[in-house]
Symmetry: C2
Subunit: 342 residues, 2 copies
DNA sequence: GGAGGCGGTGAGAGCGCTCTCGTGGCCGTG
DNA sequence: CACGGCCACGAGAGCGCTCTCACCGCCTCC
């Protein structure tokens, strides 16, 4: 009806309810220490006027913002090919929403963007940050430390950054990889290969470590580097077949890689799992709806990881009544999901 | 060094530069009408103190927020399976960043979330909204209209909402579909099928319309409904082959659907494109890195659409110096990208 | 040479809110 | 019955900024 151009203030609510601004404020913020009839009157006034608190005014005095930045520093395409980020984002969004916090999304590409993000965080526009910094040489963690903003990382950050006390949420990449490879061994496979992810990311490095834990320093030709993409998986698998035609199992660093692997195996006429068993990592394919022969994989609860990141961050913020000091990192367990390929 | 706990205020900058707060403010906001030596002094003070304006205080008086909400109201999985949203988000992010605006992400699922979003937008926390409301029966457009917030839609909204003046950015779904089907006709195909997207979305409906424009009211069995996912594409393709074994071309409503189609054709031993030609829509596969036999498809510049949405929205906001009144919707052209499947 | 104009600067109000503090009424207690 | 304590509420300051307005000095013009 009326132009929403001038929204009602707390003053207006107070006037309508016949109380002081202070009391109206108390009611809006929970109503503790205000007697029932007044609470009721104020509530009704809020309702009738369609009052919504002005967040800027509130922030000005409380120095809280009820907003959290999500920084995704992934160059180019990967964010978009992999349901991983999207799922995690959803978990984060759910948790933040449940606590009335807003999600400010910061996508970065390139070095200058890093500075921009650092400035933004240092600017005190948000109460905290959730950062996906996946590369060992990423300058972002350092910059963020300088910004003195509570931060939780998605995935164990690289060793850099100076502060080894960085809080992060990750899954048990190494343990999951071990389980996968052990499963292949249990199937009687002997020529078990691993196609890695980009090794400047801890998740990829840890999965390789898990593979090595079980296989020892086996035939080095059985380890091929790749990049977490289907295309990369294809290239790596071709190379692998050329090098080691006798390979009888492949542990791919993630599901997308496994997709490429399966494609090449089909193209080369190798049966899965009879000739070559395949295991992936992440269990994102059901989401993407593209299970070829249904992929055996190491499942991690990505959405839960997102939720956890948000929860951890919120628990460090002043408003948290929960008796938390500095939270510590969380590493979630993984589960081997047996399907058709191994 | 020093705790960043108390950040310097404009007052401090002014004091250090030996000017009034007003002058300091002028310099921070562009420096028009301030003489050079003073500008210089203030700039240096800002630098030395590491001053960053307090956005809350600024918003309180300007009533601007330099923030835009992006509302993605897509139930469940689809957002995450399809690179579409991610790409568009990136375009939006780039454009907003270039104009120093923040991106507040609102993911919704379920009806109650709609109310939450409406309240948030009505609350005047952001200067505008970019909304992806893809279903005809979505209540969101109506709620948003009530919130009286400048809004640009991603994709032509359904007819609902009351206001037919909704501004949106879309690609030429109908024209692109026409071109694809005409290409198939040009290849001499006669039994050309269409696997649709969810028809409660205008993009899917428009693509179907484009197909009909060329094919007329052909054999109704050649049109099979689906849902924009690879799994749905598979199911639809199986059904299609059972109904019409003589089909010699398929225009899939999007690339993900085409993926499922290709899989079924391979499974059934049909050669592509010799036996059955296939065309998709979107051209997201290169991004996702999963071109089987490289897919012929209708390309739309998704990232550009995102950028355009943001630009359109920003141009409606007060700060825009550009002489724009109410912007009008934009429909971007599409291009047929010929690859291997047709 | 004086009036008028104009550009550069400072003083001060006020955006809408929270929060401290002071006050008044009501209880319990000696 | 008087007094202290407590609880509920209101008054008012002030968060950090922008913006209007008044002021002042200089230049121009008659």
């Amino acid at each position: 009806m009326s132009e929403a151009v001038s929204r009602p203030t707390l003053e207006a609510v107070a006037a309508r309810a016949g109380v002081s601004r202070a009391t109206a404020s108390r009611v809006v913020n929970g109503g503790d220490g205000v007697r029932e009839p007044l609470v009721e009157r104020v509530r009704r006034a809020v309702e009738e006027l369609g009052y919504v608190p002005n967040q800027a005014a509130r922030s000005l005095v409380t120095k809280r913002h009820d907003a959290v930045a999500v920084v995704i520093a992934e160059p180019e395409t990967r964010i978009f090919a992999d349901p991983f980020f999207a799922l995690q984002l959803r978990g984060i969004s759910k948790e933040l929403t449940a606590h009335d916090n807003q999600l400010v999304l910061l996508l970065t590409e390139g070095r200058d963007d890093h500075a921009r993000v650092a400035r933004y965080l240092a600017g005190g526009h948000v109460d905290g940050a959730l950062v996906f910094s996946l590369h060992l040489d990423d300058p972002l963690p350092g910059l963020i430390e300088g910004a003195a903003v509570p931060t939780v990382f998605g995935g164990r950050p690289g060793w850099g950054g100076g502060s080894n006390s960085a809080v992060y949420v990750d899954c048990d990449n190494r343990g999951g990889a071990e389980e996968a490879v052990r499963h292949l061994v249990g199937l009687g496979r002997t020529r078990i290969a691993h196609i890695t992810g980009p090794l400047d990311q801890t998740s990829a490095a840890d999965r390789l470590q898990g593979y090595r834990d079980v296989m020892g320093e086996s035939d080095p030709r059985l380890v091929v580097a790749s990049d977490f993409t289907p295309g990369g998986g294809e290239r790596a698998m071709r190379e692998l077949l050329d090098r080691c035609p006798d390979v009888d199992a492949v542990f791919a660093a993630n599901d997308l890689t496994a997709l490429g692997v399966l494609r090449v195996l089909r193209e080369r006429g190798r049966r899965v799992p009879e000739d070559v068993a395949v295991i992936g990592f992440d269990d994102v394919l059901p989401v993407a709806g593209q299970s070829e022969p249904a992929l055996t994989t190491v499942r991690q609860d990505i959405e839960e990881m997102g939720r956890l990141m948000a929860r951890l961050l919120l628990s460090t913020l002043p408003r948290g009544e929960s008796a938390t000091g500095a939270p510590s990192s969380v590493v979630l367990p993984t589960t081997l999901i047996r399907r058709a390929t191994a």
